[in-house]
């Protein structure tokens, strides 16, 4: 790499020149920041200003630039210099927009701006221009696990987009559950009649596609590697085949909830079937009147919705599977279409027919399907059929209905493989020598779908209720295993139409992942990021914290228990960097030093100045934008804070906090995303881990002889613009109450 030549550019546009002493900033960049080149400009982001920087890069061989102007989130198109390392001192959103007007504030405002320039200069000297992952791989084939509706759709969509596909299906034919249906819920105008599934045609199209290879009666015996270079052992009847792929779509679908677990609703009794059972009866009737297993024509049927679902007692499924109301409506139509005289009752507590399902519902009512709002308490054999005892929720009475056949709408149970939260303790016990745990581990491994040889376990992490999801709302297609995407009911309960859409989305994500991997870039949410973590292994103590805590399972261990980074699996959150007790992990442009030097660069007034200094470490995904927008909306806050954006609170190494307190800061505020059940952390576990680590910081504070209020953590959402200013002001008040830190002046 060429020799480092630094430059700082100080903008005086957007009133920066009116409110700040720009000459002083320039002097600081020269004297304290030791920038080789310092230039002022009245309008840095205009063509002329940008050209000035470009000329310096070209003619003056500048390699590291610090732009002291607006927030790093503003003017990114103008300040786009991919060939140099760049830091941004946030003087606009971070200073002049948030600090009160007027002469009496001039001094503190200038101090704040001076510090941000010092910080920008300190940071840039520790940054290296990221070169991209050197270990990138170019395989762009995709593996689709599961050949049902979701799997086939994913495969076909990706194949049509020009990617080669391998499908692994455990059954002897393609189709999955969808192939077992008589008809499907309508997905086309006028949404009134059950439609053909079209599965035969779809399977034929998939089988005949030149880009698609299908392994039937096969499972995945082992998966290793990373995006762009997965190696998959496919176990079939004829033995094991190795398939090299770049990305994986897991479309392993669901299993129906076991009827035998519902004896109170007649599960296991004659004349009580689940929805899958009814599809089988309908298929054998082939459009004629549906007959029971004993051959009797069904004259009356009751559909019991939410059977073993939305259960609040913790015995059965706690969730709604989403498709069953529409499925029961469809199945009631099977009866009505064959013979309008058949009594069909759908017993529901809440009828949920999203989307165009409302039209379908209306159509069933037209056909004379009766809808009863009631909760079934028992299904008992009665005469030749069954008696359904239920509470009528409209008429508010206990009553019963007789029927030849009862259909229970049971839910979807995801085929997500091993639950890692159960797996990890067993692995630990097995490694500890427990024979029982070893046996359990072997049994558990048999249920695995992907058989990943990752440090963190053989399958994808499950979010809730065993579904392989990562976030319902913010990132529906993201999982916590980069390059592996869940599609269909394995991700969340859904119907065929949703599964089709989901599968298409997952195919696109997988394509995006292999394309990013092939040029050494990160995937969501730092997509396009070329930096990647490296470790100075000679300093590593093999503590395993990084390999255990990585939210994406990107880090494996070698035989000597050193971490092995799989850059293509990495999402660049820096959680490993925050975890490392010996601080050997860093990114080229984000490291313990880039932040540490900023912390130390701040000018620290003495204990008697009555000017506290408070460090804010703000998550760049939500908290930092919230701070910027506080500026945009002119929510004023104290000039005693100094904010540094971090990739995720998970990347916060406690050394920063110790350093800050040691060097005389009066308080540290950490601002990150919501964690816990309804987390909003863009890296899933980052803010949770940070919260855990901070819960241990009290001991450090005690050792330093400091009050525990000197470090606080806040959950901040991107919309908390006014709140963030309020939090700061309240904290400054609090610090004033506690008094200045006694640690000032030692460094």
């Amino acid at each position: 790499m060429a020799e480092m030549k630094t430059a700082a550019y100080i903008c005086s546009g957007c009133e920066l020149g009116d409110k700040l002493d720009v000459a002083q900033l320039t002097k600081i960049a020269q004297k304290e920041g030791k920038m080789a080149l310092v230039r002022e400009h009245a309008f840095l982001c205009n063509e002329e200003g940008v050209q000035m920087i470009r000329d310096d890069i070209e003619k003056e061989a500048v390699t590291h630039i610090c732009i002291a102007a607006c927030s790093r989130r503003a003017k990114t198109e103008a300040f786009n210099f991919p060939t140099v390392a760049m830091s941004r001192a946030n003087l606009r959103e971070g200073v002049i927009w948030v600090i009160a007007e007027g002469e009496q504030h001039d001094e503190v405002r200038q101090e704040m701006a001076n510090d941000y320039v010092r910080m920008g200069c300190a940071e840039i000297k520790k940054m290296i221009l990221p070169q991209g992952n050197p270990n990138h791989a170019h395989n762009k084939r995709l593996l689709v696990v599961g050949g049902g509706m979701s799997g086939m759709t994913s495969a076909l969509e990706a194949a049509e987009a020009g990617y080669d596909i391998v499908i692994v299906e455990k059954e002897a034919q393609l189709g999955g559950w969808a192939a077992k249906l008589w008809k499907r819920v309508p997905f086309k105008q006028p949404f009134a009649e059950p439609q053909d599934t079209g599965l035969t045609e779809l399977a034929a199209k998939v089988s005949a596609h030149p880009r698609i290879t299908v392994h039937l009666s096969s499972t995945v015996a082992e998966t290793s590697g990373a995006p762009g270079r997965f190696s998959v052992q496919v176990k079939g009847a004829a033995g094991i085949t190795t398939e090299e792929v770049g990305g994986i779509v897991q479309a392993t679908g669901f299993t129906t909830y076991d009827l035998n677990k519902l004896p109170e609703l007649g599960g296991g009794k004659a004349n009580v079937v689940d929805q899958a059972g009814l599809e089988a009866l309908a298929r054998s009737a082939n459009g004629a009147t549906i007959k029971r297993a004993d051959g009797k024509e069904v004259k009356s049927v009751v559909f019991v919705q939410c059977a073993g679902q939305r259960d609040e007692t913790g015995t059965h499924l706690a969730y709604c599977s989403g498709h069953c109301c529409a499925t029961s409506v469809k199945q009631a139509m099977y009866f009505k279409d064959a013979n309008p005289q058949v009594d069909t009752v759908v017993m529901f507590t809440d009828l949920r027919l999203p989307g165009m399902g409302e039209d379908f519902y209306r159509s069933a009512q037209q056909k004379g399907v009766i809808f009863t709002k009631g909760k079934a308490s028992a299904v008992e054999a009665s005469g030749d059929g069954c008696e359904v005892k239920f509470r009528d929720l409209i008429l508010d009475e206990d009553t019963s209905l007789n029927a030849d056949l009862v259909v229970l709408a049971t839910g979807q149970v995801p085929n997500a493989g091993v639950n890692l939260e159960a797996w990890n303790p067993i692995v630990t016990a097995a490694e500890g020598g427990s024979d029982e745990a070893k046996q359990q581990k072997i049994e558990m491994q048999k249920t695995s779908v992907l058989n990943l040889n990752y440090r963190q376990g053989p399958d994808m992490p499950q979010l809730k209720q065993g579904f392989a999801d990562s976030h319902f709302i913010c990132f529906p297609y993201e999982t916590r295993r980069t390059g592996i995407y869940a599609a269909g009911p394995v991700r969340r309960p859904m119907d065929m139409l949703q599964a089709t859409e989901d599968a298409t989305g997952a195919a696109l994500k997988a394509i995006q992942a292999v394309e990013n991997a092939s040029i050494g870039r990160a995937a969501h949410p730092r997509s396009g990021d070329l930096s990647f973590p490296t470790a100075r292994l000679e300093g590593c103590t093999q503590c395993k914290r990084c390999t255990v805590e990585c939210p994406f399972g990107a880090i494996d261990e070698d035989e000597r228990r050193f971490p092995v980074f799989n850059e293509s699996r990495c999402r660049r959150c820096g959680t490993c960097m925050g975890a490392c007790p010996v601080r050997v992990i860093s990114f080229e442009n984000y490291s313990v030093d880039t932040v540490g030097m900023q912390i130390k660069a701040v000018d620290m007034p003495d204990e008697f100045s009555e000017r506290p200094r408070i460090l804010i470490l703000a998550c760049e995904n939500d908290a930092y934008p919230a701070l910027d927008m506080a500026g945009l909306q002119h929510h004023l806050y104290s000039a005693f804070v100094r904010a540094i954006p971090v990739r995720c609170l998970g990347s916060v190494n406690t050394i920063w906090i110790t350093d800050a307190l040691n060097s005389g800061y009066d308080g540290v505020m950490l601002m990150g995303c919501k964690h816990g059940d309804n987390y909003q952390c863009h890296f899933v576990k980052g803010s949770e881990l940070a919260n855990y680590r901070m819960s241990k910081i009290d001991d450090t504070l005690k050792q330093l002889g400091l009050e525990k209020e000197r470090v606080i953590t806040h959950e901040v959402a991107i919309t908390d613009n006014a709140r963030v200013a309020k939090l700061i002001n309240e904290y400054v008040e609090k610090i004033n109450e506690i008094g200045m830190s006694p640690m000032k002046g030692f460094n």
Partner: protein, 207 residues
């Protein structure tokens, strides 16, 4: 049990919903109710009724024939049309209420002495005779509906109003003797009989 009621029960056995669909005005809409309860919440008199429209529809589907037809609920409807305006499924609820009341009346199992029913009967009998409403006779019939003594009391109480109307030539005492009629009462009566016959045929009444 009235003859008509016995016949209806025999004909529809347990399928009260089908009976309502075939025999009650706008009854074919009952199956389209989605039990949201907006009608029940919108009815200004809802809490004064035995059953809300939502409940009535559910009872029809649950086959509660006796309870529905003897309910006073549909007689209490004031035709404010709030429910029709608000029903998300566009059910003509007001009309169904009147249809149900009418049906219960025809089967003669509607609540006896229900005031709305009594007034309706008096009004119809008054009108159907001559093709014109005889206001004097209708008022008197109303006064005397609860017996002779009550009738005299009612008439005495309303005396000044009646005399005022006579003075203002808004009430002709001579109307008591026959009163005015439509031009051809015979044909009017035939028309009414024919309409009844058509309706009976359509709704499957034998008598």
């Amino acid at each position: 049990m009235t003859v008509q009621n016995q016949q209806a029960v025999a004909r529809y056995r347990n399928d009260f919903l089908r009976e309502v669909e075939e025999r009650v005005e706008d009854g074919e809409w009952v199956k389209m109710c989605m039990q949201c309860g907006v009608c029940a919440g919108s009815c200004p008199l809802g809490n004064a009724w035995q059953h809300t429209p939502q409940k009535l529809f559910m009872m029809i589907r649950a086959g509660k024939r006796e309870e529905v037809l003897t309910s006073d609920a549909m007689w209490m409807c004031t035709s404010c049309y709030n429910c029709i305006v608000r029903c998300p499924r566009k059910l003509p609820i007001t009309h169904i209420m009147h249809g149900l009341a009418n049906y219960a009346h025809r089967l003669n199992i509607a609540p006896k002495g229900q005031p709305t029913r009594e007034v309706a009967k008096l009004f119809w009998n008054n009108l159907a005779k001559t093709g014109r409403v005889n206001e004097l006779k209708f008022s008197l019939a109303m006064y005397f509906k609860d017996g002779f003594v009550q009738g005299i009391k009612n008439a005495m109480a309303m005396q000044s109003v009646g005399l005022g109307l006579v003075k203002a030539k808004r009430l002709n005492p001579m109307e008591l003797f026959g009163g005015h009629k439509c031009k051809d009462t015979g044909s009017f009566n035939k028309m009414i009989a024919k309409a009844r016959e058509i309706e009976d045929r359509k709704k499957g009444f034998t008598s």
